[in-house]
């Protein structure tokens, strides 16, 4: 079992107004699964993914990742988890625009305190995996959207995480590039990566082996 989340509630406070974005959600995901979470915008999909990815903490509930209680971890432990166990892929790629592809993919390895030689080897390895080794010195704005997203996937993979979390990864791509990205996810899943995909595109969700729907902060089937 990679993920075991139970009764996850997340309340945002904006001044005097409290918004319950997630309402007692429970989810277990076993190792090697490929799951899609669907639902309309504002349903809390991203918030849920952020909590699963240790970027955010639930207001209440329990969350165990690889058997370890994440909710009560301190910043350093959480960051370490994000760095080594989780790979994030975002709708807007979230690459550093002024830096070249090499540095963008190298970034997590810095925080993992890897040596220079190892950093170089790993970056080249994952970039060739997504077929972008020839773009290594380019800047993100010299790449197409699909290529940017493949760079982002390479970055997510560079520390060999067990879990990949993708938040609308095809949202900014044309359908051809979108399918290409999903093919890569399928392959990664076949190699044993656990993947959770958030999307509102049904066509893309079909790549996952299992889908669930989130509406108004609750899971419906």
């Amino acid at each position: 079992m990679v993920i075991k989340a139970s009764n996850i509630t997340r309340i945002y406070k904006m001044g005097s107004i409290s918004v319950k974005v997630l309402n007692h959600i429970s989810l277990s995901v076993e190792k090697g699964k490929f799951i899609s979470i669907m639902g309309p915008s504002g349903a809390g999909k991203s918030t849920f993914l952020h909590i699963l990815g240790c970027l955010d903490r639930p207001t209440s509930g329990e969350y165990k990742l690889d058997g370890l209680d994440v909710v009560n971890m301190n910043d350093s432990q959480l960051s370490n988890y994000r760095n080594k166990k989780i790979g994030f892929i975002f709708q807007l790629f979230n690459l550093l625009p002024k830096e070249d592809i090499f540095y963008n993919v190298e970034l997590p390895l810095f925080y993992a305190k890897k040596k220079k030689k190892e950093r170089k080897e790993r970056v080249e390895e994952v970039l060739s995996l997504v077929g972008l080794l020839h773009r290594i010195t380019h800047k993100p704005n010299q790449l197409s959207g699909g290529e940017c997203q493949r760079v982002a996937i390479a970055r997510a993979l560079v520390n060999c995480p067990a879990l990949l979390l993708a938040d609308e990864p095809t949202g900014n791509l044309d359908s051809h590039a979108g399918h290409q990205i999903m093919e890569i996810f399928t392959q990664l899943n076949e190699q044993g990566h656990t993947i959770i995909l958030v999307t509102h595109n049904e066509e893309m969700a079909k790549y996952a082996k299992y889908s669930l729907y989130l509406r108004d902060g609750k899971i419906e089937k």
């Binding site: 952020h50 910043d75 960051s79 760095n83 550093l96 925080y111 970055r155």
Partner: protein, 404 residues
């Protein structure tokens, strides 16, 4: 860990070079001022050392003749008898020597030296000037009274003329007159002094004053060593009264005390420290605030970047270190530019300040001054960089990621 944070910071800085450049100006100015100030102080210290070296010691007095202020008086100048009177009557002194200075080359066989300082003096001059004998002997009272044509060579002059062989007993020619070498002085280098500035002191030779008259009984200076530094004021007043009495009340001499000269330098340094200290303080403050301002602007401009870094595993402390390191890199590189600029200014000043009477006074740069400048600039970077860095580190990663 620190190295990686340094790399991250350097990379971060390169993405906003121009802003960094503008920020550095305040620090550059401050560090330049630090350099100039420190080197002036250092230069003054060396000047004090030089005074000590030429005057002999802190409790020394030198008397020079001067033109009297009264116009209708014919000046007598400083007389041999003045020195004798001081020697016989002042209870405060340890030693007296009248001196006659001459700048000519000396000859040994076919070897001729450049112009060196020749000094006619008394035996007590050795003790007054705090020189020591390396070989042979110094001038004696017998030499002075019997006009013996004997000479004691300065260390460098001896080296120039005789190399490593002993000169004792050899004959040396000075302006056509032959002197017999009876001794050699030890090389003298005061502590902390690069020998260049007082080389001329180590070239100087001494002869009995009675063999060195340019005009009978007229002497150039009187050197006095006072028994104790606390007696300098008493000695000063007593010498003055003796001289006034001998010169019919006409004030035609300057009485310099080493203590007074050192005091003047100390006062000068004090004023410099005040002025430069104020400039340094103000420009460091301005520079520091500039850095803080730039870093705060940077932190909000780069909110998204912070979010991205956090999402791939940067800890709060990593972000803190990156931004702190950026501030320190800014201030230290500004400091380095300031050091360069300061050195340039110091060299220029060194060229302008030339002491016509003797060696060129240079303003000095030591490794300590450079170290101080680097230390001060890194402290400013840390001090003013901490708050922006803390702000960057404490951003909520989700908010930072959503920021466009």
């Amino acid at each position: 860990m620190i190295w990686i944070n340094f790399l991250l910071a350097l990379r971060g800085l390169l993405s906003y070079k121009f802003r960094v450049f503008l920020t550095t100006l305040g620090i550059i100015m401050a560090i330049t001022a630090v350099m100039v100030m420190a080197s002036i102080i250092e230069g003054a210290k060396r000047e004090s050392l030089e005074i000590m070296a030429t005057m002999g010691g802190p409790s020394n007095i030198i008397i020079y003749p001067k033109f009297p202020e009264e116009k209708d008086v014919i000046p007598l100048g400083l007389l041999y008898g003045d020195a004798l009177s001081i020697r016989n009557r002042s209870p405060f002194i340890e030693g007296v020597s009248p001196t006659i200075n001459n700048w000519v080359g000396v000859k040994y066989k076919d070897k001729q030296t450049q112009e060196v300082n020749g000094l006619g003096c008394w035996p007590e001059f050795l003790n007054i000037a705090e020189f020591e004998i390396k070989e042979g002997r110094f001038i004696t009272w017998d030499d002075v009274e019997a006009n013996h044509q004997v000479i004691v060579l300065g260390y460098i002059t001896k080296q120039d003329l005789f190399g490593h062989t002993s000169p004792i007993g050899e004959k040396i020619e000075i302006e056509g007159r032959m002197y017999k070498v009876v001794g050699v002085l030890k090389k003298k280098i005061p502590k902390g002094w690069s020998s260049e500035g007082i080389k001329w002191l180590n070239r100087r030779y001494c002869v009995p004053i009675t063999t060195f008259w340019q005009e009978k009984d007229i002497i150039h200076e009187i050197h006095v060593k006072v028994k104790h530094i606390n007696l300098i004021e008493d000695a000063f007043l007593h010498i003055k009264s003796i001289l006034l009495a001998r010169h019919n009340g006409v004030d035609e001499f300057d009485i310099h005390t080493a203590k007074g000269a050192l005091e003047n330098i100390r006062q000068g340094i004090k004023i410099w420290i005040l002025i430069m200290g104020a400039i340094v303080g103000i420009s460091l403050l301005i520079g520091g605030i500039g850095i803080m301002n730039t870093m705060l602007a940077t932190v909000s401009d780069r909110k998204k970047e912070i979010g991205i870094r956090r999402s791939v595993g940067a800890k709060e402390i990593d972000i803190l270190f990156q931004f702190l390191m950026e501030a320190v890199i800014i201030s230290v590189s500004a400091g380095l530019v300031g050091i360069g600029l300061g050195m340039g200014i110091i060299q220029l000043v060194g060229l302008v300040i030339v002491n016509v009477e003797g060696p060129v006074k240079t303003v000095i740069i030591t490794p300590f001054i450079v170290g101080l400048a680097i230390l001060v600039s890194s402290l400013v970077g840390i001090l003013f960089g901490v708050y922006p860095a803390y702000k960057a580190a404490r951003q909520n990663p989700i908010d930072a990621l959503r920021y466009e």
